[in-house]
């Protein structure tokens, strides 16, 4: 009995109105409030005037436009964002949240919004691709403690790729420049903003995204999180994501921020 009434009680306490979850579902969707931690450009940040901006925010607006509802964004620190969702401070989390089994226990996730693929960076014209066969005998730099380090050591090191761990990502780039490394493996967004778009990275390029990951070392995609008791909202959001991808809105927003495909290349093949 207790477990049945808990969501209802929570709704009662927070809203101060006697909407049972059933009633909330039946209500017509007029507005979606997204919880955002705006400290993570280019995905979400605050403009100097205090407005929300970024890739996530634009996607959120496109989803709202698709559903013909109003869009609101609420500032919420990332560490407390799941409890805040469950306390009904907002309807959904839109904050570069990667789907993990731990989080999936607490909340429900939409279909894929995007993925920060793991990419290889190399000197222009090197012609390397992120596979063990292509990199055999080459030296690849990774930052210690990252999923990329685990990836390179899991799949590449046994196949004869020299994997070198560095204390920090900036040192990886330094040795890429000095010529010690033939390539480096890291988050593509990090590589793009931290290196390739800087003057130092002018002679370097992406060598492609990692697509082979049978042991799921690199984890899952990034999605919108909603409360588990609102499948109706989740269904609407999933439909809207599918629609904006189908009608090209997604591509248009993507090209505004990224020079690579943040959706199709991933999730890595299981």
């Amino acid at each position: 009995m207790k477990t049945i009434f808990r969501p209802a009680l929570a709704a009662l306490c927070v809203l101060g109105v006697a909407f049972a979850p059933v009633a909330a579902q039946a209500k017509k969707l007029t507005e979606i409030t997204f919880g955002v931690d705006p400290t993570y450009p280019p995905f979400e940040s605050l403009s100097p005037s205090g407005a929300f901006q970024g890739f996530d925010i634009d996607l959120g607006r496109a989803i709202c436009a698709q559903l013909a509802v109003k869009c609101k964004f609420v500032n919420q620190g990332f560490s407390g964002i799941i409890p805040a969702l469950q306390a009904r401070k907002f309807d959904a989390i839109l904050s570069s949240m990667t789907v993990t089994p731990e989080r999936a226990k607490a909340i429900a996730f939409s279909s894929e919004m995007y993925n920060e693929p793991t990419s290889l960076v190399e000197k222009k014209g090197a012609g390397l691709v992120p596979t063990a066969a292509s990199l055999k005998g080459k030296t690849v730099g990774v930052e210690a403690g990252t999923i990329q380090e685990t990836y390179a050591k899991t799949y590449w090191a046994p196949a004869g790729v020299k994997v070198v761990s560095y204390p920090g990502q900036d040192q990886v780039y330094a040795d890429l420049l000095s010529g010690r490394l033939d390539a480096s493996l890291q988050d593509s967004v990090e590589a793009d903003y931290g290196f390739l778009k800087t003057p130092k990275g002018a002679d370097y390029q992406f060598g492609g995204n990692v697509t082979y990951d049978p042991q799921d070392v690199l984890g899952s995609y990034i999605a919108i999180g909603v409360r588990k008791d609102e499948p109706h909202l989740l269904k609407k959001i999933n439909e809207a994501i599918a629609a904006i991808i189908a009608n090209g809105t997604y591509k248009k927003i993507e090209s505004k921020y990224f020079n690579f495909d943040v959706y199709a290349a991933t999730p890595a093949a299981k």
Partner: protein
Amino acid sequence: MIQIIQQYGLAYLGWDGYNISGLAMTLWLLVVSCGVGFCIALPLAIARNARSPFVWVPVWLYTFIFRGTPLYVQLLLIYSGVYGLDFIHNTAPFNEFFRQAINCTLLSFALNTGAYTTEIFAGAIRETSHGEVDAARAFGMSRVTLYRRIVIPSALRRALPVYSNEVILMLHATTLAFTATVPDILKVANDAYSATYDPFDSFILAAVIYLCVSFALIFAFRRAERHFLAFLQP
């Protein structure tokens, strides 16, 4: 703690699955750098006590520079700085040597400990009792024989307690190796930490390993002192 030992125990001791790591790497760094350092220190210590300023000034400059700057800076200069020079890049043997992180690390460690060891030995040589030197001269020994039979053996024995400190300080200095991507004990501890978010267990395990090595070194040097310095005991 048990989980860390199960998962990272082997990496702490010597093999992370693909490379030498942890304790084995730390000991390799220590042995090679102290060995090379010893070999360069011995002739330099004699040169340091030479009369001609053309001989002792360069040696003094070397020890002054390498004792006067942090090892961390020296390592960065050799690892990042030297390899960045076009001259090094274009000379095949140099390029080959400096491309390997382990070579850069060993070189900077050896030069650093070499500078300290030079001063330790030079001090011991300077303190050699005049009576022994006079006696050797009276015996008709040449300069070379004098150094080979009297000065060097006596100076090395008397330098032993100070030199043991230098070796232990060098052990502690090897923790800088991961700056140049050499996976020593501390690198493995950092890996364990970032995987488990358990700083105490990860680093205490590293500390215990360092403690054991230090203890073994102290024990070995005590034994050596008792053997080689027996003539100084009351």
